[in-house]
Symmetry: C2
Subunit: 334 residues, 2 copies
C-alpha cells in the first residue's frame, strides 16, 4: 500500500482541451476507515466525455465539479480493509470513485459490489454506463426496428462501437459506422462486423451517406454533434429517429458550437430527435446486463478496451476522447 493518497483536483476550468493547468496533483494521507467504513484502493477509472462537461461552470444534469475538488468519474476499487459488514477485503466495488488512489466506502457512498465473474474493465465498459448507454439509447430512445438502416458516429469509441454491435445483434438491415481514419474504419468493419464505414477525415460524409443509405437513415445514434449530425439530418428517412447521446465535437469549444441547420428536415420527414441521460435508466440496468452477458457468452459482442497506465495520466486519457486517439473504451489502470 502506498502511504500517500494522490488526488487529482480541478485546479482551473479548461477553456479548451484539458492541459497542465487544469488538474493539480495533491497528496494527502491515506484516509482511515471509521466504523461502518472500508478503505478501498482505486484500480481502474472510466474515462468518459461527460467528465469534460463537468469541468465547465455550467449546470448540467449533474452540478459542475467544484474547483479544488477531486475530478469526478466512475471507477472500480478493491477493498483493502473493512469495518463494515457488507465489504470484505478483496471485494471489487463500482461507483464514482473520482480520480484518486483511495476511497472510503460506506452505506453513504453508494458503491456497488461487482457481480461475480465480471471483470473490472467489463464493469466499466459493457456492464457499465457505456454499455447501458448504447443499449437503452438504441433500443429504448431510438426504438430500433429490425431492418433499420442504423448510422452511428464516434463508431470506434466506447459507446459507438457497442451501439454498432448491438444493432447488428438486434437485426439492423445495415449498420454504418462513422469514424476518423482508415485504421479505425477497418477495425469496426473487420473486428466488430459493421456493414459499412465512413472515414470522416478523408471522405465527404454527406455524399457517402447518400451512397450507403440511398433510402435514408432510419436511426442515427449521435455521439459527436456538429457537421456529422447535420449530414445525417440531411439524409434522414421518413420517420427517422436521431438519438442524441453526446455532442463531443462541441465540448471543448462551446462558443463556436453550431446548430444543425438541417433540423428542418425533421418536419418534412416526420422525424424525431431525442436526448437522454443514462442515469434515468438505473433501475433497468439489470435487463440490459442480462442481455449483454448472454451476447458475451456466445461471442456476439466484444468488449473493446483502451487501457492507459497510471493515475497521473488520467487528464491525457480524457483528451484521447477528443483527439480520437482511442479505439474502444478508455480506461485508466491506476
Amino acid at each position: 500500500m502506498a502511504d500517500r493518497n494522490r488526488r487529482l483536483v480541478l485546479a482551473e476550468r479548461p477553456s479548451g482541451m484539458v492541459d497542465e493547468q487544469t488538474v493539480r496533483v495533491e497528496e494527502s494521507d491515506v484516509p482511515q476507515p471509521g466504523p461502518g467504513e472500508a478503505l478501498a484502493r482505486v484500480r481502474y477509472l472510466s474515462i468518459d466525455p461527460t467528465i469534460r462537461t463537468w469541468m465547465d461552470d455550467v449546470q448540467g444534469y449533474l452540478p459542475p465539479i467544484a474547483l479544488d475538488e477531486v475530478v469526478r468519474g466512475a471507477g472500480v476499487a478493491e477493498v483493502l480493509e473493512s469495518n463494515a459488514e457488507q465489504y470484505r477485503p478483496g471485494d471489487l466495488l463500482f461507483g464514482f470513485t473520482g480520480w484518486q488512489d483511495y476511497v472510503l466506502a460506506s452505506e453513504a457512498t453508494g458503491y456497488q459490489a461487482l457481480p461475480k465473474g465480471v471483470s473490472a474493465t467489463l464493469a466499466l465498459n459493457l456492464f457499465g454506463v457505456t454499455g447501458m448507454t448504447a443499449y437503452f439509447g438504441l433500443i429504448d430512445v431510438g426504438q430500433m426496428q429490425e431492418g433499420d438502416v442504423v448510422v452511428v458516429s464516434g463508431a470506434a469509441g466506447a459507446t459507438g462501437s457497442t451501439v454498432g454491435q448491438i444493432a447488428k445483434i438486434k437485426g439492423a438491415g445495415k449498420v454504418i459506422g462513422i469514424a476518423g481514419g482508415e485504421r479505425k474504419c477497418s477495425w469496426i468493419a473487420d473486428e466488430l462486423g459493421f456493414d459499412a464505414t465512413i472515414d470522416y477525415k478523408s471522405e465527404n460524409v454527406a455524399a457517402r451517406l447518400r451512397e450507403l443509405a440511398p433510402d435514408g437513415i432510419d436511426l442515427y445514434f449521435d455521439n459527436v454533434g456538429g457537421e456529422i449530425l447535420d449530414a445525417c439530418l440531411g439524409q434522414l428517412a421518413l420517420r427517422g429517429r436521431i438519438v442524441l447521446c453526446g455532442a463531443i465535437s462541441g465540448y471543448n469549444d462551446r462558443a463556436s458550437a453550431r446548430g444543425p441547420v438541417n433540423y428542418s428536415n425533421l418536419i418534412t420527414k416526420r422525424g424525431r430527435m431525442q436526448g437522454f441521460i443514462i442515469l434515468d435508466y438505473l433501475d433497468r440496468f439489470p435487463e440490459a446486463q442480462a442481455d449483454i452477458a448472454g451476447w458475451l457468452s456466445t461471442g456476439e459482442i466484444k468488449s473493446a478496451e483502451h487501457i492507459v497506465a497510471g493515475l497521473e495520466n488520467a487528464p491525457e486519457a480524457l483528451n484521447l476522447l477528443f483527439t480520437g486517439g482511442n479505439t474502444g473504451k478508455v480506461i485508466v489502470e491506476v
Copy 2:
C-alpha cells in the same frame, strides 16, 4: 360568370419573398365540364406558409410546383353546373383548387363537399389544415399534458392563434404566445386568452422566457425556427417537447438559415424535438373536427380570419405571412 379563367402560374422561382416576377396571370377559356365532371367557381383560397416552400426547386413532402403550373393551394369552390351525380349547383367543395377562378371537379380531383353548416372560411381555417395542424401538433405530436407550460411562436398567425386556444381548453398551466408587435400581443392576450405574451420585436425572448417560465417550457410549438427556436431550446424543462410545425423564418432565405445551437440541451433535459406533416393525419380529421365544432358552439374557441380581396392579390397575401402583416388565418376572397 366571367367568361375567362384567370390562372396564376409560377413564372419563375423566387429567390426571397414572392415578387412581381414570381407569378404570371394567364387567361384561358373557362373549362367545360365533360361527363362526370362539374364546373366550380373558386370562392376562397387558403394562404399557407408551405406554399412558399413549394415554389422552391426542392423536393419536400410534396413535389415543387412546376414552372408555368398554376400555384398549388387549398381553396373552396362553388359548383356552378354539373354533369356528375355527386355534385349539385350551389355545393361548396374543398380541395387543392390552386390559384385560379375555375376548376373542374370529378372523382379524380378528390374535392370534398363541405359539411353542412360549415362556412367556407371556417372550412379553410379551424376545420381545415390550419385547425388540424394546431390540434394534432399539440395533442398527438406534442403530447400536451394538463398543467404544461406551453409556448407558441407565430402566436398571432393562423396556426399559432389556434394552438394557444386549444392549449387553454386542454388545461395547460400557462400559455405563452410569442408574436411581433404590441397590437398582436394585446390581441392574443385580450381576445384569445393567452396567459402571457412576448413581443419578439421589442423584447429579449430568452430573458422573457426565463421570467415567464422559470421552471422551463414543457411544450414549445414552433412555427418559426431560427433564434426563437433556439431561445426555447435554451429554456426547455425536463422532458420538454418541441413540436416542429414550420420554420417560416428560413423559408425566404434558405442559404442563411441557421441551426439551433442549443439543441444539445435536448440531451441534458431528456428532451424531444419532432416534426410532422398534417397530411399524415387525414383519416383522423373527423375526431378533431368534432372537438372543434363543440368548442365553437360553446364559444371556447374563435376563428380568426384575415380576408384579402381579389385573386390577383394572392401573391401579396402570401407575403403577409412573412412580413407578419396578418392576424389569424389569411384567406383570399377570389
